[in-house]
Symmetry: C2
C-alpha cells in the first residue's frame, strides 16, 4: 500500500483549507463557484463504498459539516454535493454553493467553461472564514 | 406540514423500485444509464443538511446500499453519487453506474441529450434484480 497523496490534478486546481479528522479540505481555484472538495486521506480509494462503514460515516459527517459551513457563510440558493470521479479517480466529494446568478445555473458546474481565479486577498479571507466555520479543522 | 409526495417531475421520469426504511427508490426511465434516485419520504426536505443527524445517517447508509447493489449487479467502471436539486428541489440523491462506453462518459449524465426508454421486459427484470440486491426493500 502506497502513502496517501492528493491527485496532481486536484492539487493543481485547488488551495488547501485544512484537514478534518478524515478528509483534506480543498477550495477550488474558481471564484465563480464557492466549491469545496473533500479528499479522505487514505491511499487507493476510488468509490465511496471502498471506505469501510466507519470511514464512510466519518466522511459523510465531514461532508455535512462542509455543507453547513457553506450554508452558514453564504446562504446559497442550493447546495450541490457529489462524488463523481469520472475524470480524477481518487475519491473526492464536491460540496458547492450554488446561486441562481452563477455562471452555470441551473446546470451542474462540471464542464461549465473556464475557471476564474480568485483575487488572492479574497481567497485568503474566504479560507479563513471556512476554517472558522468548520469545526475540528487543523492545518494539513 | 404537508404529507410526503414524490415531486411530479421525478415521478414522471422514473419507475418505482421500492421503499427502504427512509427512502423511496426510483429507477430513471433512461436505459442509457443504470440510474437510481433515492428520495427520503419526509415532506419539505431540500438540502441533505435539512435532515436531522439520524435521518442523514440513515439516508447515507441507504445511498451506500444502492451503490453496492449497482456495483454487485453491473461492476461499473465508476459510480456517480450526487445530490444536486437545481432543477427539482425536493431532496433526492442520484446513484448512477457509469461505463466508459455510455452516452455521456466522461461527462456527468445530467443534460446529456434525450433519455432512451427501457424495453419493458428489460426494465422489469432490472427492477427485480435491484429488489433482490437491496436489503430491506419493501413495496412502496
Amino acid at each position: 500500500m502506497t502513502d496517501f497523496a492528493i491527485d496532481p490534478q486536484l492539487a493543481q486546481d485547488t488551495t488547501l483549507v485544512g484537514d478534518l479528522p478524515l478528509s483534506r479540505v480543498l477550495l477550488m481555484n474558481d471564484s465563480r463557484f464557492p466549491w469545496l472538495i473533500l479528499v479522505p486521506r487514505r491511499a487507493g480509494l476510488v468509490e465511496l463504498i471502498d471506505l469501510d462503514e466507519a470511514g464512510y460515516g466519518t466522511l459523510m459527517a465531514e461532508v455535512r459539516a462542509a455543507a453547513a459551513a457553506l450554508r452558514d457563510l453564504l446562504a446559497p440558493h442550493k447546495l450541490n454535493v457529489a462524488a463523481l470521479g469520472n475524470a480524477v479517480r481518487q475519491l473526492h466529494v464536491h460540496v458547492i454553493a450554488r446561486s441562481r446568478d452563477d455562471a452555470a445555473w441551473p446546470r451542474p458546474v462540471w464542464g461549465a467553461g473556464t475557471g476564474t481565479p480568485y483575487d488572492e486577498a479574497v481567497r485568503a479571507a474566504f479560507v479563513a472564514d471556512l476554517r472558522r466555520a468548520l469545526p475540528r479543522i487543523a492545518d494539513g
